[in-house]
């Protein structure tokens, strides 16, 4: 792996280069007391000097006493916001005196349109795995989502290696971090001490190398590489949660009547926060809406959640009416069925569901409780 370093100021150059090369750059921004992802105009938009404190059902941002750019962990949003938008028009049909015109007749094939150029700036290792998991869902089956494909194939990814663990995350258990190993064009590690503020950058692809040419870099030294390694080890030690994945799929499959589900269902509000913040959840619904005159009918795809009562509705009623059934469905899907469906766990250990659950349900605790008394 080719490693280089560049000084803090060159971070701005990297963003400018991407913009000049036609990429829309999305990255972290501090807004409404949370670090979210949105379009960056330039490096000043980044959450410089901010950090966060996370725990069950708790999220606070806090000012640091330095100018670290990435010294926080994941917020309520994930990159699926861009690759798999919460609301997306799929097609429009028009009605006129000549009849109905269906877009399929015009042979519109979205995937033949040029791919969109999105740059994702500051993608953590767990998020890289989450993107790969959604790639498997949307691009790896018998039918492919052409909307996802168009955004994904043109995406440029600048990963960031975490230099501290979050309050709720557990990437080590899920083998998804903290260091980014692949799936990126460039991977940065921020090093900030009394003397210097710089980044070690690892090149992942030819395009990454090409973009980096516009940034003033020098070769990384042995010491730089060792510093990165230390940061990774220090981060791992800070991880405070764990999830034992050994034989977890079978344990969950056999535990459909485990008493733990009732206990957790009594707490769960079925609010669907966890599914919205989860970077791998992909359930969606479809709505057909017309304008008032009935001249145009749009099909809109929207995020949906297995926690809603009518998610499983078939003529006359829902299949999963109880909160127990719905919580069980979500967790069993995430940590068991997903393995049979897509070849890996659906969970990347980012901790968002724990942080953003209003009643603080912790998926690692649930897994522990079920494993303890499994049949």
């Amino acid at each position: 792996m080719k490693n280089f370093i560049f000084e803090r100021a060159e971070l701005d150059t990297l963003i400018e280069t991407l913009k000049r090369r036609g990429f829309k750059v999305f990255g972290p921004i501090m807004r409404d007391s949370a670090i979210i992802y949105d379009e960056l105009t330039d490096a000043k938009d980044l959450p410089i000097g901010w950090t966060d404190e996370q725990s069950n059902g708790t999220y606070h941002v806090k000012r640091r006493d330095d100018a670290a750019v990435f010294a926080w962990t994941v917020g309520p949003q994930s990159w699926k916001k861009f690759l798999f938008p919460p609301i997306q028009k799929i097609f429009a049909t028009h009605r006129s005196t000549k009849g109905l015109d269906f877009p399929s007749l015009k042979k519109q094939v979205p995937q033949e349109s040029p791919p969109l150029k999105y740059a994702f700036f500051g993608v953590r290792s767990c998020e890289l795995h989450a993107i790969a998991i959604q790639d498997k869902v949307f691009l790896g089956g018998p039918f492919i989502d052409p909307l996802y494909q168009r955004k994904r194939t043109g995406a440029f990814i600048v990963a960031i290696n975490c230099s501290q663990a979050g309050g709720t995350c557990f990437c080590e258990s899920m083998n998804t971090g903290p260091k980014a190993t692949n799936g990126f064009d460039l991977a940065l590690t921020e090093i900030l001490n009394e003397k210097r503020h710089y980044f070690v950058v690892e090149i992942g692809t030819e395009l990454g190398e090409d973009i980096l040419k516009s940034v003033k870099c020098t070769k990384a030294t042995e010491e730089d590489i060792a510093t990165v390694k230390n940061i990774t080890e220090k981060t791992v030690k800070q991880i405070s949660r764990s999830l034992d994945t050994d034989n977890l799929k079978n344990i969950l499959y056999q535990s459909s009547e485990h008493p733990r589900w009732e206990r957790t269902a009594a707490l769960c509000l079925t609010c669907a926060n966890c599914t919205m913040v989860c970077p791998t959840c992909f359930c969606a619904t479809v709505e057909d809406v017309t304008d008032l005159a009935g001249k145009q009918a749009d099909r809109i795809r929207k995020w949906d959640s297995c926690f809603t009562l009518d998610f499983s509705y078939i003529h006359g009623g829902s299949v999963r009416t109880t909160a127990k059934a719905r919580y069980r469905q979500w967790m069993t899907h995430k940590l068991a069925s997903w393995v049979d469906q897509f070849g890996s766990f659906g969970c990347v250990g980012c901790g968002r569901c724990i942080t953003w659950c209003p009643v603080g349900i912790d998926i690692t605790e649930e897994a522990r409780a079920i494993r303890e008394n499994h049949p």
Binding site: F138, L139, F143, T153
Partner: protein, 289 residues
């Protein structure tokens, strides 16, 4: 870590985008019973034929109203006409019920796994249909009848609520008139004047003329009926490897991307709707799966 597909080499070769419905024109809307109707369609544009396998379904779109999954109920040997039979129970089907010759429906499909009819070569074939469940089985019946010599005994057991709910009466009569098909119809209750069987469809199984050691059973109907039918088939000696059922769940995309139709770890839209009973028997008895 999940192995993501190789993005650089991803080339999708669609003749038609799976998210866009294709327009079909209604040739006929036929009312079968009080709440069930059949719509016959022909493709528009440069599509001349619609081929499918028995057991598959389409997503059927009514402009501005919505889209729902409906099993294909026509003859696969007649690809110029697409036939759907459905009950008028929701906003989309009620809208369809009022449509006329010349109106347009959007079709995406065919989707799903078919009835594995060629697995039944050389065996007896038993179809057990409950209510509207006869519609997804009808294409399989057509196909078996068209190649009758490949099979042993062919039996249809069909149960529905009352005589006025019996579907495809004329076809049932035609089939009954053949000497190489055994057609048994039963209803849950009837007015005096009905000369057929009265009783639940599972009652027909114990005396149906097939050899349980050499039989494939294709079962379609309400889930409760499929569970009890399987119990009776077991009593006759048919095992789970030789029983196939058609499952139903909420569907939005029909292409395995929206997550709605999951039943345990399988997606009913792409791993089903036809399943070998042994594959799903454990999930059928779990509540609220």
């Amino acid at each position: 870590m999940a192995t993501a597909p190789d993005l650089q080499s991803l080339k999708v070769d669609y003749k038609r985008n799976p998210m866009l419905p294709w327009p079909f024109q209604i040739r006929r809307v036929k009312h079968e019973t009080e709440d069930t109707f059949t719509v016959e369609l022909q493709p528009s544009g440069d599509l001349e034929e619609f081929t499918f396998q028995p057991g598959q379904f389409n997503m059927v779109y009514v402009y501005g109203v919505g889209e729902i999954p409906i099993s294909i109920s026509g003859d696969p040997a007649n690809p110029r006409t697409l036939v759907h039979t459905t009950r008028a129970v929701g906003s989309v089907t009620k809208a369809m019920d009022k449509m006329h010759r010349g109106d347009i429906l959007g079709i995406r499909g065919p989707y799903g796994t078919p009835w594995p009819i060629d697995h039944a070569n050389g065996q007896d074939v038993v179809f057990v249909a409950g209510g509207i469940g006869l519609a997804p089985l009808r294409p399989a019946l057509y196909e078996v009848v068209a190649q009758r010599e490949r099979y042993g005994k062919v039996v249809l057991l069909y149960g529905t609520r009352t005589p006025s709910d019996v579907l495809f009466r004329q076809e049932l009569e035609n089939w009954r008139a053949r000497f190489d098909l055994e057609i048994y119809v039963t209803v849950d209750r009837a007015m005096s004047g009905w000369r057929g069987n009265v009783g639940v469809v599972t009652n027909l199984i114990s005396r149906a003329p097939f050899d349980p050691r050499n039989t494939m059973a294709f079962v379609c109907g309400p889930e409760v009926m499929m569970r009890f039918t399987t119990m009776e088939l077991h009593k006759r000696g048919v095992d789970n490897e030789h029983i196939f059922v058609s499952m139903e769940r909420n569907m939005k995309c029909a292409i395995g991307l929206c997550g709605h139709c999951q039943f345990g770890s399988v997606f009913v839209c792409k791993d089903g709707p036809v399943f070998r009973y042994s594959q799903i028997k454990d999930m059928l008895v779990k509540w609220e799966i």
